[in-house]
Amino acid sequence: MRETFRAITRSQAWRSVFRHGLPLSNRTRAEAVFYNFFLHVHPAKVRRRSLKFTYTWGLGGLSAGLFIVLVASGALLMLYYRPSVQQAYGDMKDLQFVVSSGQFLRNMHRWAAHAMVAMVFLHMLRVFYTGSYRPPKEFNWVIGVVLFVFTVLLSYTGYLLPWDQLAYWGISVGTNMARSVPFGLGERISFLLLGGNIVGENALVRFYVLHCFVLPVAAMVLMGIHFWRVRKDGGV
């Protein structure tokens, strides 16, 4: 068993994929980081101090983890959901009562979304109270603030999609607030967002596109920059 496993990890096929052997020596451990696309956001070595759980509380990493959960569960929800006034609510009912594990899927997506808003806020507090925004990390803090705004917007645009009373009036209250931006700008912003003066078919499609494409892509790009900056600014 053990020998077979060893043989596999030494085979050319394995090598061609992973380019390194098992992480048994410090050398192969370092290689495991920089030959791996997903791990190379990390340096090969990290400070022991920054590993202490009560320093970061894992909050940034868990925010990213929640984002992954949201993308995965969201993609599955998209298979059953159609963004039209005729169908949206019925599709939610189908998810709850017809689709296997549909309710569970919806729950995962909903609770992860709420958790992410809170998690990102807490991460911001951690960064503040450890003073980790100070030079050279100041710009990464700014990227973080933008990420926080995007997180809230993602959650908010998703809120309309079930097209129930909660969704409809929650969005109406919010877009009415946007209307109060002065110089007629508010009216325009809200018109642009809703595709009209009321929350209707156009608003649903716009929120859907923002929620499922524009905002997640923008957030992913920003997260990429954020993680890259964490490294370039000298690590946590």
């Binding site: 992480p23 410090n26 451990r29 370092a30 495991a32 980081v33 791990l39 990390h42 090969a44 070595k45 990290v46 400070r47 022991r48 101090r49 590993l51 894992g58 868990l62 983890g65 929640l66 992954i68 959960v69 006034v85 609510y89 709850q96 569970f104 729950n107 995962m108 609770w111 709420h114 958790a115 911001m124 507090l125 503040f128 109270y129 003073g131 925004y133 100070r134 990390k137 803090w141 603030v145 705004v149 959650s155 908010y156 809120y159 097209w163 129930d164 009373q165 909660l166 969704a167 409809y168 009036w169 929650g170 109406s172 209250v173 607030m177 209307r179 109060s180 931006v181 002065p182 929350v199």
Partner: protein, 232 residues
């Protein structure tokens, strides 16, 4: 062998922005003591990340098994629920809307908050992270009392008790170390907090209080409703 160079530590980032080492003689520079204790990312960090992620997914899955996401009746533009509430993270703002005109509560205050957050790292007062009462005690005391006083009067005039009470409490705790002679550990610690710390702490407390009131304590017509009676 005597040291070729000496690294000095100075907590004041403003006075010593960079560390400069002068290397005498022909020997290569050598750092005697690693000031950072490094460990391999694989396994130390990656294993922790994997465990944290899996634990989080388990918690989420349990939550999702036992609590269902809400789904009310189909949207009906003719029938406005009372109260009509935004999602919880906007209820702090909606609570403000109860006190201030929409332009203040919905635009100016949130915009100010975001701008304030963005400029935090560039607003380099007190780089030394000196406590408020360590030097220039009198000046700081007058400043803090003036700002807190003006803010409190404004909040009082608009009847924003939900912000006034936290503001007064924070201000009181803030100035206490300036007056007490014999300080225990907590007071010493509070006294050594810089101004930015106080502003952020005040901000967070206000945000939490407003959001909690908007979420749990507001019912029809945005009237005060105890959460054990009903949560809207």
């Amino acid at each position: 062998m005597s040291a070729d160079f000496r690294a000095e530590k100075n907590p004041d980032a403003g006075a010593v922005p960079k560390r400069v080492a002068f290397i005498k003689g022909r020997t290569a520079a050598r750092v005697r003591k690693e000031d950072e204790d490094l460990v391999m990312t694989v396994p130390h960090l990656v294993v922790r990340e994997a465990i944290a992620f899996m634990a989080m997914v388990i918690v989420l899955a349990l939550l999702s098994l036992f609590f269902n996401a809400p789904l009310e009746w189909i949207a009906n533009p003719e029938h406005t629920p009372n109260p009509a509430k935004a999602p919880w993270y906007f209820l702090g703002l909606q609570e403000l809307l109860h006190y201030f005109p929409p332009i203040v509560a919905g635009v100016i205050l949130p915009a100010l908050a975001v701008i304030a957050l963005i400029v935090i790292p560039y607003f380099r007062v007190n780089v030394k992270r000196e406590g408020l009462w360590e030097s220039s005690r009198r000046r700081n005391l007058i400043g803090v009392c003036a700002v807190a006083g003006i803010l409190s009067v404004l909040l009082f005039l608009y009847n924003v008790y939900a912000m006034l009470i936290p503001t007064l409490i924070v201000a009181a705790v803030m100035v206490t170390p300036a007056f007490v002679r014999r300080q225990g550990r907590i007071l010493l610690w509070l006294g050594s907090r810089p101004l930015s710390w106080w502003i952020m702490t005040w901000f967070v407390i206000v945000v939490v209080v407003l959001t909690a009131i908007g979420t749990l304590f507001r019912g029809p017509e945005w009237s005060w409703t105890w959460p054990w009676k009903e949560i809207y």
